[in-house]
């Protein structure tokens, strides 16, 4: 692939105006199945934008130790401070801290133990209202969502520890879980 192909004016215009949407709604939203992960750790790594390289190197070090992640996402706060959030298995906590500590410009904090639910469904990347439907189903049972990430056709919900089972049950009233692909842990 040639990067310069991206620079064409025609392509830039098309990129600006094309949007794909699918505007249908089902009484019970179809999914390809749910995945539940309980007892994970939510970890925050914080650095100034100029220290992002150190943060990247810390992550490479963790990768070399084969520390797997369940979810990773980044947010930028006022003043350009970068926070990278990681969801990992608790047994990796010590290794993780040891990987990051030597790169002193990066702060690390274990926020809390959490549960996570994730699911995918047909056209989720192009449809409105999917995350809202999940939030409403959880709110109705007073289940607090700590964090959420939607990307491509995947929805991730990070919940307080111990809420995974209740959340899965609440979501199954709004979303259809295919019999062939029941809830996986």
């Amino acid at each position: 692939m040639k990067g310069k192909a991206l620079e064409g004016e025609g392509q830039r215009k098309r990129r600006k105006h094309l949007d794909v949407t699918a505007a249908y709604w089902e009484p019970q939203i179809k999914t390809y199945g749910f995945r539940k992960n309980t007892g994970l750790l939510l970890v925050e790594m914080k650095a100034g934008a100029e220290m992002l390289d150190s943060l990247g190197q810390g992550l490479v070090h963790m990768g070399n130790l084969r520390i797997p992640f369940h979810l990773v996402f980044m947010q930028v706060s006022e003043g350009g401070l970068i926070s990278v959030y990681l969801l990992i298995q608790p047994e990796w906590e010590k290794d993780l801290i040891e990987c990051v500590r030597p790169t002193s410009p990066v702060g690390i904090e274990v926020i809390s133990p959490v549960d996570m639910l994730s699911f995918q469904g047909p056209h989720f990347g192009e449809r409105f209202g999917i995350l809202d439907a999940a939030f409403q189903a959880l709110s109705s049972k007073k289940i607090r969502v700590i964090a959420s990430v939607c990307s491509m056709s995947c929805v991730y919900l990070v919940l307080e520890a111990g809420q995974g089972e209740r959340a899965a049950s609440a979501l199954s009233e709004t979303f259809e879980v295919p019999k062939a692909f029941p809830l996986r842990s």
Binding site: M1, G3, V72, S118, A147
Partner: protein
């Protein structure tokens, strides 16, 4: 995760593909009122007017809510009009025109891939508005004018199979 030798003997991680989204608008939402449930309110607002989010990253912690989402540029006006009816949300909303999503896949849940990408994009001075993982892809939020440079930076650390490398016109 598969690794191959790069041109300078540097190890590159094998990736099957890379794609870029259409240009869109990023909406940032920040609230520190501590009133709770604000994480859920913004998606509610969009759903009410059938506006799709192409990505969403949100976190509620210590009474603070910080979210970012991508919507089609054509929907910005509708969202602004909707927000007029929700002054508490409107106060914390910020619009950034002209962002794109650049995704590489599959990440295979390997932090080395995340670290390589982050370091490569930083070294190339690519403005990064955020990133997140999905089941298969790592998706980076940047500016359209840096897209070609960002693709080149990622190609420095990933060996991307040419047969699956394409740039899509829509997310």
């Amino acid at each position: 995760m598969g690794e191959v030798d790069g041109s300078a003997g540097m190890q590159k991680i094998a990736m099957e593909g890379l794609n870029a989204s259409a240009e869109m608008v990023e909406v940032g939402i920040y609230d520190s009122s501590g009133l709770g449930y604000r994480l859920t309110e913004f998606p509610r607002l969009l759903a009410r007017d059938r506006i799709n989010m192409h990505f969403f990253v949100g976190l509620e912690r210590g009474g603070e809510v910080r979210s970012a989402c991508g919507i089609a540029a054509v929907n910005k006006g509708r969202l602004k009009a909707l927000a007029e009816w929700e002054p508490h949300l409107k106060a914390g909303m910020e619009y950034r025109d002209g962002i794109v999503l650049l995704s590489v896949f599959p990440h295979q849940f390997d932090l080395k891939a995340v670290g390589f990408a982050l370091s490569a994009l930083t070294a190339a001075r690519i403005p990064l508005r955020g990133f997140c993982s999905s089941l298969s892809a790592l998706t980076f939020v940047t500016e359209p004018s840096y897209l070609a440079k960002a693709v080149a930076a990622l190609q420095e650390c990933f060996h991307i199979s040419s047969s699956r490398t394409d740039l899509l016109e829509a997310p």
